[in-house]
Amino acid sequence: MLDSALILELAIMFIKVFVVGSVLFALPIPLTWLERKVAGHIQVRLGPFRVGPHGVLQPLADMIKMLLKEDIVPEKADKWLFRLAPIMTLVPTFTVFVAIPFGDKVRIPFTGREVALYISDMNVAVLYILAISGLGIYGIIFGGWASNSKYALLGGLRSAAQMISYEVAMSFAVIGVVMLSNSLSLVEIVKSQSGGFLHWNFFYLPVGPLWFIIFIIAGFAETNRIPFDMPEDEGSLGAGYHVEYSGMRFAYYMLAEYVAMVTVSVLAVIFFFGGWNPPFNLPFHLTGETAMFVNGGWNAEFLNLLAAVIPLFWFAGKVAVFIYSFMWIRFTLPRYRYDQLMRIGWRVLIPLSMVNILVTGFMRI
């Protein structure tokens, strides 16, 4: 049953999962530093500056601090659920990345083997991502409930209501993207946007930008970030659902929050900004497919590798822009009140999406 081809397949799969997993685990380290730096400069101060040059080692210091802190479980908490909850948020946020494509198939030099820059190209990837990312909310609800504290419980419940409300708008926006790209597979969605930035879903006028706005507002709400960070409204709730958490368990929640932010940025790039496609066709035809067929010799192998790597840079660059704007918005806008948040979700975004579905439908006929 186990032949060498299958073992090689499995090994490649494991390597891919390992690489994606470790990048996701490591990414919050520079991101926390960046976030605090951006916050500092927006508020006309320096931000972290003491540990290392310009404070770059601050996240490491924070990590050591988190690891050494006492892990407090409240006396009257539901201890089993309290311990389980942070992991319940963490697992879905990572599992989403199984379906996310970072690039197309590439050829490894000198072997002639094709490796896809995604873990799995699912037929139903879009639905899978919506479904799995919706599960992250349970860690928040259970964490809030198990803490046995009214602040935490209210934070958890708020988050539940918020996520349900905005999941509807988010799903509508994704339906819009599916209508524009005619596919539920993320690889197909990206491929349908190839050939210059005018083919990106964002530039499908007039509905594209509207879908993007609905998606990104819902995305902010889903990731619990300002201006929609109701679950951890420190003015009225202490710190919300994670008020009783300390040490590494608290860090898990933060980690999940950062990964969720990365997820929304990645999805925005894939859905609306062409994924790994370059914004314009390069004059020397170095885009994936054309260089793939050049065979033999050092030169060709080098070109192949370059063609494989360049889309990754486009992808990462676009994602970085979105992550930066997440941070930018966090320190620019005030927080909405809870009833305003609900009103935006139900009375603005959802009717707007329904109208937009009709318009998109007529345009696509």
Partner: protein
């Protein structure tokens, strides 16, 4: 290999379904129900219908369970509350209904020959195929269900409004 996975999913599903009924704490019951539904989704994957699996996770695990939890956490479910909501004299009705339902289920399960059940031929069921079937062959049931859902939604709003006024 597939049989092994099926056995894992099925046994976890059965155990977690038992846990739903046996746990005393309603929040833990809800957690067990979530686990059970996830296992059923995994079985759908083994049956080559990823669409159903994903929809199962999306609708039941993702949305319906959140609402369950919402209610369970807001309502303080104690013995007194339960008795006001569900008085003991009505409980005999429940004890009478349960055997009837059990009998019906057994009848249905034992009466079905499971020929032709299992993974469909020709690999995974495509979303396109399901969509086409829904909008051509099963158009009437599909529309009836959507009207039914609309009626339920309007009913829920009316009931909630009445309590407010």
């Amino acid at each position: 290999m597939e049989r092994l996975f099926f056995l894992i999913f099925a046994s976890v599903a059965v155990v977690s379904a038992l846990c739903v009924v046996l746990f005393r704490n309603p929040v833990r019951s809800a957690l067990a129900l979530m686990l059970c539904l996830l296992q059923v989704a995994c079985v759908f994957v083994l049956l080559r219908s990823p669409f159903l699996a994903v929809v199962q996770v999306f609708v039941y695990v993702g949305a319906v369970m959140v609402l369950f939890l919402f209610v369970v956490m807001i309502l303080d479910i104690r013995q007194a509350e339960l008795e006001a909501f569900f008085p003991p004299r009505n409980r005999w009705l429940m004890y009478a209904i349960i055997p009837v339902i059990t009998f019906e289920f057994l009848l249905v399960i034992l009466g079905t020959s499971f020929e032709g059940f299992g993974p469909g031929a020709g690999g995974e069921t495509k979303v396109e195929v399901i969509g086409r079937a829904l909008f051509t062959e099963y158009l009437l049931p599909f529309e009836v269900v959507s009207v039914l859902l609309l009626v339920a939604m309007v009913g829920a709003i009316v009931m909630a409004k009445k309590r407010w006024d």
